[in-house]
Symmetry: C2
Subunit: 274 residues, 2 copies
């Protein structure tokens, strides 16, 4: 079986792919759109992409593509703790320039300020690219902020461990696929994710949509508006709901339709903690 | 009077500053945080920052800073249409590399693919920086995607006009200040923006918060969740409400407090169309 993921090797998504599909053929793609397309075109059987981080928020590229352009559902969610390391080609390296993804730079800001106040900062497309780049330039005074997996992948030393500011840093990843897969991982929740489009001619439409879940005691774990890209102030709504009582959720979804509220199913999935 | 804005000269925010405060001293700052800080520290009397674009969505740097770190309110909102131009130092320039902000690049993607399929793309921190950079390198085969104001500011030619993909492209800007200001512009709406923090021990808290507005017929123009940066799945909610009936909104806010739902006022403002 083939599994696509947001590459390169050593990225957080790669780490999820290794844990979820240890024995399958894993294929890296350069960006989120390419990963989703590889699945749409049948190049891979499952695809893994990031959806939301506890500090930075939703990954818009993922949610916008799934809403606007794809007919694909998430069949599993993986929650992974995010820990950042300062890496270099050797432990006694003089460090004048630090490379990483903007989110990782933001996460390591306090550490860098305290230990390398004069270092130049360079933004890269991902943490794994930063690691690969400094590994390819061992003569330069370079360091990278990246996960442990990137150190292993590119033969780098960990100069400082877990330099991220907040301990409570997690990312949600979705596994896209045609059917659920029984992962040998710790399952902690069942959820459904919907994208609601509200009719213009239904006053208080969002309130009514939420009522459908509220009076049944169905828990909402997330609600977020995203621009419909038509006009300012027109949104679709991403809603994650607890799917422990599947029959009750089925009734709620039927009632949404009866009220004239359209929804697109983004996923019906089990949640696993890594 | 001094007015801070997200610079440099020629940016969309600069354009708003010129229209809103034509006769005042306008000061550019390098990023959104610097603009807000200049206001907090009393360097400027008003500050102008982008809040939301109709295609890309909210500007998280603005909303997160105002929620987490500042005690500042928006006193006006300016809505500006966004139009992108392809600029170069002369009309017959050979174009091999195109510079711009990622959002403007995304907006002009179709045009570039059709007319400059082989051009290299370089991302910059803002459209105005891209314009300034190509103006400083007139011997190179460079072009930039930027607004009309940037062409004027840096003496560039417009090679192609309005290359953005969607016509319905608008950005909301907030004017931060201590008191409302009577702008000589077209006023179209009155709004209040709140950041709600929901108590853990109130089941269906979001639904209850929305009920406070719904049964009074107060229109919500936006609702969006942002991570609280504490744990995955903990959010605050940015809610924009129509403030045409101010007395009714006052009652609704009082009732929110009585229900145990905290809110931070992000702004109470008139909306102007530019």
């Amino acid at each position: 079986m083939k599994v696509g993921y947001l590459g390169p090797s050593g990225s957080f998504t790669h780490n999820v792919a290794v844990k979820a599909f240890p024995d399958d053929e894993r294929m890296p793609f350069a960006n989120i759109t390419e990963v989703i397309k590889s699945y749409e075109e049948g190049v891979v059987d499952y695809a893994i992409i990031p959806v939301e981080n506890s500090i930075e928020g939703s990954v818009h590229e993922t949610l916008d593509y799934l809403f606007h352009q794809a007919k694909i559902e998430a069949v599993a969610e993986m929650i992974q703790p995010i820990k950042q390391q300062l890496l270099a080609t050797s432990k006694d390296k003089k460090i004048e320039k630090i490379f990483s993804h903007p989110q990782a730079i933001a996460q390591g800001k306090k550490y860098i300020k305290a230990h390398y106040p004069n270092a130049q900062i360079e933004m890269t497309a991902s943490t794994a690219y930063a690691a690969r780049f400094i590994a390819e330039n061992p003569a330069e005074p370079f360091a990278a902020i990246a996960p442990v997996a990137a150190a292993k992948e590119y033969g780098l030393e960990i100069i400082a461990k877990d330099i991220q500011e907040m301990d409570e840093n997690y990312t949600r990843f979705w596994v896209l696929g045609r059917k659920k897969y029984a992962f040998e991982l710790f399952k902690c929740q069942q959820k459904v994710s919907l994208a609601l489009t509200l009719p213009d001619n239904l006053p208080g439409a969002l309130y009514k949509a939420l009522s459908v879940f509220a009076w049944r005691g169905i828990n909402l774990t997330k609600i977020e508006s995203r621009p419909l890209k038509t006009a300012l102030g027109e949104y679709f709504f991403i809603v994650d709901i607890d799917n422990t009582n599947e029959a009750l959720v089925t009734f709620a979804l039927e009632e949404l339709h009866l009220l004239g509220i359209d929804y697109k199913m983004l996923g019906n999935y089990d949640v696993y903690k890594l």
